[in-house]
């Protein structure tokens, strides 16, 4: 096993280089595509008839003139809406995007004159950019349709009527029908906010720079410098400590639960053990009960005046309350242990489900060969499990990096420490720290930086590990 790890690390630089080269080739392909599109646009103009050429300026004209009234009207409306939008709304925001606003809001004699709102400028500026991209794309589609329509008519066939188009919505274009609403939702509620926040990381949007009262502006990479600097009790060192704990936590949370969960599943599944359903049901209760109830309650159980301490004191096992939540190291260990309580039932269910799928003949041939329980486990059960749950482990690990609930509800990220900046505590993960910065400190710029860093970590782990885990590489061995 060790040499596999060694090989992995040695191969890292090679992987990185190859990854970068792939990225470069994608970018190259992208520009090539743009080039060919532009060439096509020029060609269509040169070879097109007058209806096509007018469509370059008045979208939808070509479709309308060729009898496809619905399409023509839709294109034209889109162009109209877009123009109105830019003229009366988006244009002004877009113009100020570079500065994020220069006119301060002033209050004189209890009369407030509102100046620029940096937040809205950023938000609507981004929205406008997307709108522009959408417009260019639609315009391009409009041109392409003209070209295709000309070809169809030339070859003597008919164009699709409005009725055909609507029919296609339920058939060949069904994907567009079904995806329209979800994609819109994702765009407005995920894409836009994320891009917004990523850009906020490059501004100084925080407590003292809040619109509409105050402006914020671009500050380049200085936030990243703050977060990643080293030395002292500032954000930099805090960041590395929080990061370290996040990774340690994710590791233990994932793998401890995995192996223990599997062991419990095997124990319950062992032949000769009765009442299998009962054991499983008892464990599964933990999943059924909403986490906030169980976690909040359990966190109180471990409090200084909680059940555990109370009874331990009563029984004389200790003479003062154990600092479960007040000492940094104790808190970390307690969280990992409690997480086992939460996590094992999930793993047990999955392990049970999978072990039922292991082909029985593997076990039978092992029995005939004379393998004992330990050998069977190591040579058949374990590899099969690892193979099937490889992707699950990966998602689980990443999920634990972002496991907000467990940390927040159990310890609130504490205990706090003077050595940690930004109100970070010993058990804070990157995302709970992010939450604190957002809700308590209104320090949006640093929160955004943390968010970006979490993304990078997740992306890197995904990319490097994904190709390594056995399930992707050795599929043939198992089939």
């Amino acid at each position: 096993m060790a040499h596999k790890f060694a090989r992995f690390f040695i191969s890292l630089p090679g992987r990185l280089v190859r990854g970068l080269l792939t990225l470069v080739s994608w970018i190259g392909a992208f520009f090539k595509k743009i080039g060919s599109e532009i060439a096509d646009i020029v060609q269509t103009f040169v070879h097109g008839d007058w209806k096509t050429r007018v469509s370059y300026v008045v979208m939808g004209f070509g479709s309308f003139a060729r009898g496809q009234y619905l399409r023509g009207i839709l294109f034209f409306l889109f162009q109209l809406v877009f123009n109105l939008y830019i003229l009366f709304f988006g244009g002004s925001y877009l113009a100020k995007l570079g500065t994020l606003g220069t006119v301060q809001t002033t209050t004189k004699n209890r009369v407030t004159t509102y100046g620029d709102n940096s937040f809205l400028i950023l938000l609507y500026g981004i929205l406008t950019i997307f709108f522009i991209i959408a417009f260019i794309y639609t315009w391009r589609v409009n041109i392409k349709q003209n070209k295709i329509s000309e070809q169809i008519l030339k070859s003597g066939k008919k164009l699709q009527s409005a009725k055909d188009d609507l029919g296609a919505m339920a058939d060949s274009q069904f994907h567009k029908t079904l995806l329209a609403l979800p994609m819109l939702g994702i765009f407005m509620f995920t894409v836009l906010p994320i891009i917004f926040m990523v850009l906020v990381a490059f501004t100084n949007y925080d407590y003292s720079h809040q619109p509409p009262g105050k402006l914020f502006t671009w500050v380049g990479l200085s936030n990243f410098k703050t977060m990643l600097s080293v030395g002292g009790a500032n954000f930099g060192s805090t960041f590395s400590q929080v990061l370290l704990w996040t990774l340690i936590w994710a590791f233990f949370a994932t793998f401890l639960n995995y192996f223990l969960g599997m062991m419990v599943a095997i124990m319950i599944n062992k032949r000769g053990i009765k009442l299998k359903k009962m054991w499983r049901t008892i464990l599964v209760m933990t999943i059924a009960i909403p986490q906030f109830v169980s976690l909040l309650y359990v966190s109180k159980m471990f409090a200084a005046d909680g059940l555990i301490n109370t009874y331990l004191l009563k029984w004389g096992w200790i003479d003062k309350a154990l600092p479960f939540w007040t000492d940094g190291t104790w808190a970390r260990i307690t969280i990992i242990v409690i997480n086992i309580w939460i996590g094992i039932p999930y793993l047990m269910l999955i392990a049970t489900g999978i072990s039922m799928n292991i082909p029985a003949d593997l076990y039978e041939s092992a029995r005939i060969d004379g393998a004992n329980a330990m050998q069977t486990y190591a040579k058949i059960t374990l590899p099969y499990m690892l193979f099937v749950t490889g992707p699950y482990l990966l998602t689980s690990f990443i999920g634990n990096i972002n496991n907000f609930n467990v940390i927040f509800l159990l310890s609130g990220g504490g205990p706090l420490s003077m050595e940690l900046a930004g109100n970070a505590g010993y058990t804070d993960l990157l995302i709970t720290w992010l939450y604190k910065m957002t809700v308590n400190d209104t320090n949006y710029k640093l929160a955004a930086v943390i968010g970006i860093i979490v993304f990078i970590i997740t992306a890197v782990i995904n990319l490097t590990v994904y190709n390594l885990i056995p399930s992707v590489r050795n599929e043939e061995d198992f089939q």
Binding site: L123, F174, L178, G185, F189, T190, T286, P290, A447
Partner: protein, 315 residues
Amino acid sequence: MAKEDRIPEVDIVVDHKAGVIREVHPPHKLRSRKGHERRVNASIYVVLTIISIIWLAPFVFLVLQSFRSYITENGGMVSYLIPKQFSLDNYRFLFQPESQYLRWYTNTLIIALFCAVIQTIMVLSVSYVLSRMRFRGRRFIMNMILVLGMFPGFLTMIALYFLLKQLGLTQQGAIPGLILIYVASSGMGYYISKGFFDTIPKSLDESARIDGATRFYVFKRIIMPLSKPIVIYTILMGFMGPWGDYVFASYVAFGKSESYNVAVGLFRWMNTRDLQGYFTRFCAGGVLVAIPITILFFILQRYYVEGVTGGAVKG
């Protein structure tokens, strides 16, 4: 799996080289295998019992302490477990208007119902399209969703809060606002449902298409009837989600306690008002939330396992 626990008296050994089958009388250790196995099983039973006690204990305690009246006894943290007197005062409190508990409960119920329905529609639409249809941009959408999923969810909250504020969907209007947040991007969670759809043979679709069915017809009349487990799983997931969300709910309803959901309300009781002894009332509130969810979960447990192992594990 072997149904018999008895070990045969002789071992049958296949001698490949000589091409024969031989009987071998068991060495001493084989005869004690029966006893050995019994010992192993016994220790497993012990371990399982301990585990069961540890796992169940918190809930037992929770229920016990919910019966400790905040009026007659102490409603905060005390040093004993079993109430001196079993009382329903805590539960009565929950139903009084000043506790707002009922309000929170109904809020969460409404949110959960809307989420269950709308989310299912969104998720199944996306999963179906990505599973059955091939079109330009399919890979792009799947990759984009993958990349977006790598950002911490809470990051979007800041921008969304202001967006919702513009639309008046915060604080007072937090309920619709929360529903919107939960369902709008729910299409991103297509992974498990798609895995399920992938197991339905494409030849069913193709055969229907040759017969003249539109894709919509195939979706409605063929795929959906075959997808009961995953539909139920998705509805279940959509329903159970909002009950436990603290982060988004607290942010959107900030300050307006009428708009809290149960998670936020109970959290406040536990953490800010605990000094006034809200602990036992929290227990009671928790029990009332846990019971229906747990029952629901058990009824539909087998769909859950099908959903998780069928989709997530097969990748």
